[in-house]
């Protein structure tokens, strides 16, 4: 069957079988290999992509489930040469070592900050609780996401100095 998705702002189509997994469609058919295959068992989150703005595990979706939907992968974070605030945060705070989990971590972080621009460390930890990192011990990942939140708030408050940042939306999670 033919699958059409809007991915990183572009409409893309490709052939898939009914059994084709979304992660394989993205990597092999659309040739976007920033989305990783880690555990392949819904545990690790290396395959995280955003579907209609929400993080999902693309190893645990059929490609056909994404037909007509809007996807965002790690390739869609930067705008040209300008890094996304989350990417900048991971760079500044050394939020990665081997980098294998990083695309998933950054997409979860980007989705969190869309919903809750000023999360607490507790809320950050809940948001990344479906993504595993075997290198960092998570401390720098949390710092990186907080860095992104703070830099985004600072950039937003530049035109009107001294204006408090908008209150965070009520967080999901417990």
């Amino acid at each position: 069957m033919n699958i059409t998705v809007t991915i990183n702002g572009q409409q893309r189509s490709g052939e898939a079988e009914g059994r084709t997994l979304l992660v394989d469609f993205i990597r092999n058919t659309l040739r976007l290999t920033g989305t990783h295959i880690g555990c392949d068992t819904s545990n690790c989150g290396a395959c995280t992509v955003l579907m209609d703005g929400k993080p999902v595990k693309s190893c645990t979706l059929l490609a056909a489930q994404a037909e007509g939907r809007t996807l965002r992968t790690v390739e869609g974070l930067a705008e040209g040469a300008t890094l996304h605030a989350v990417q900048e945060g991971f760079h500044q705070e050394h939020g990665l070592q081997c980098g294998f989990c990083t695309p998933g971590m950054m997409l979860v972080a980007a989705a969190l900050l869309e919903r809750n621009p000023n999360p607490t460390d507790e809320e950050i930890r809940w948001a990344i609780s479906g993504n595993l990192c075997r290198c960092t011990g998570y401390m720098n990942i949390v710092k990186a996401i907080r860095h992104a939140a703070e830099s985004t708030a600072a950039a937003a408050s530049v035109p009107v100095a001294g204006t408090p940042v908008a209150a965070a939306a009520p967080a999901g999670g417990s």
Partner: protein, 291 residues
């Protein structure tokens, strides 16, 4: 791993979906969010000829109030329950459970009805449905019927759902008097199945317990309803002694197995402690006027 070859259909109407289930019977599997089914397909523990994706049918999701209770579309995601406005006030047990199901990414796709129909005895929702006396609406080309949670779960991964039936809604009866509940889950890490889970619901009438609902997760061939404990509480004045007695009865009703998550004795004692703790919390919340 990828699944065995399968046909995939994504009907846009309920009628069309029911037609497919009628035609294909046991050879068809319903995919709602796919968070249990896709892993089973990948492990080839399930190899249906046809997957019927109900993700494009309107009217199957959302949480709404109706006279006497709540109406939950069967395809409502765990995340939608987690974020349903005001649910903590109307039914704290549902609100407490949602954030403990699997992990945040799985909760964005996985559905309550899918989890209930999958009927993994280590799944969280079935215990909640037993404690709340939930009623499931099942549709087929033959018509519609309602099955109580107590009659629905028949064995591991086995339910009263016929091959041509689809769960469309879950109805939660809620009393007008003070009531509340909570869900306690012991897990090794986020995303793991429960070592033990306990769902508790208390309904009060004039200071006495009108009804207690207690569901147990991961300690039996199905999620278990601790009926002896429930009956011991009904009509009683709530007290630490009554709660301790009910907790012992619930622990006796549990049938845990030794495994990597703990021994039989350990899990049984977690049931006892969690039932007691859950009853105390439910009572405090009910008296505060929180559902």
């Amino acid at each position: 791993m990828f699944p065995s070859a399968l046909d995939y259909r994504a009907p846009t109407s309920l009628d069309e979906a029911l037609d497919l289930l009628t035609q294909h019977g046991d050879d068809a599997k319903v995919l709602a969010g796919g968070q249990s089914l896709v892993p089973l397909l990948k492990l080839r523990l399930a190899a249906p000829g046809l997957v019927v994706d109900i993700g494009r049918i309107g009217g199957l999701d959302g949480v709404g109030t109706q006279p006497g209770g709540l109406h939950i579309g069967a395809r409502t995601t765990h995340a939608d329950i987690e974020r349903a406005p005001g649910l903590r006030r109307t039914c704290a047990l549902l609100a407490d459970t949602a954030p403990l199901v699997s992990d945040p990414l799985v909760r964005n796709m996985g559905t309550v009805g899918g989890s209930v129909c999958h009927a993994d005895p280590a799944g969280d929702w079935a215990s909640v449905m037993l404690a709340l006396n939930a009623q499931f609406t099942l549709r087929s080309k033959r018509g519609e019927r309602t099955v109580a949670a107590a009659d629905f779960f028949q064995g591991p991964f086995t339910t009263a759902l016929a091959p041509d039936e689809l769960m469309t809604a879950i109805r939660i009866p809620l009393p007008s008097g003070p009531a509340s509940g909570t869900y306690l889950k012991l897990e090794r890490k986020v995303g793991d199945f429960a070592t033990v889970g306990v769902a508790v619901q208390l309904e009060l009438d004039d200071g006495h317990i009108a009804r207690a609902g207690i569901g147990l997760t991961a300690v039996g061939a199905t999620n278990l309803q601790a009926t002896a404990a429930e009956q011991a509480l009904a009509g009683q004045a709530p007290s630490d002694d009554a709660f301790a007695h009910a907790a012992r009865l619930a622990a006796e009703a549990a049938e845990p197995k030794d495994d990597i998550r703990g021994s039989v004795d350990y899990k049984r004692d977690v049931v006892r402690v969690y039932v007691q703790r859950g009853l105390r919390r439910a009572l405090a919340q009910a008296r505060e006027g929180r559902a």
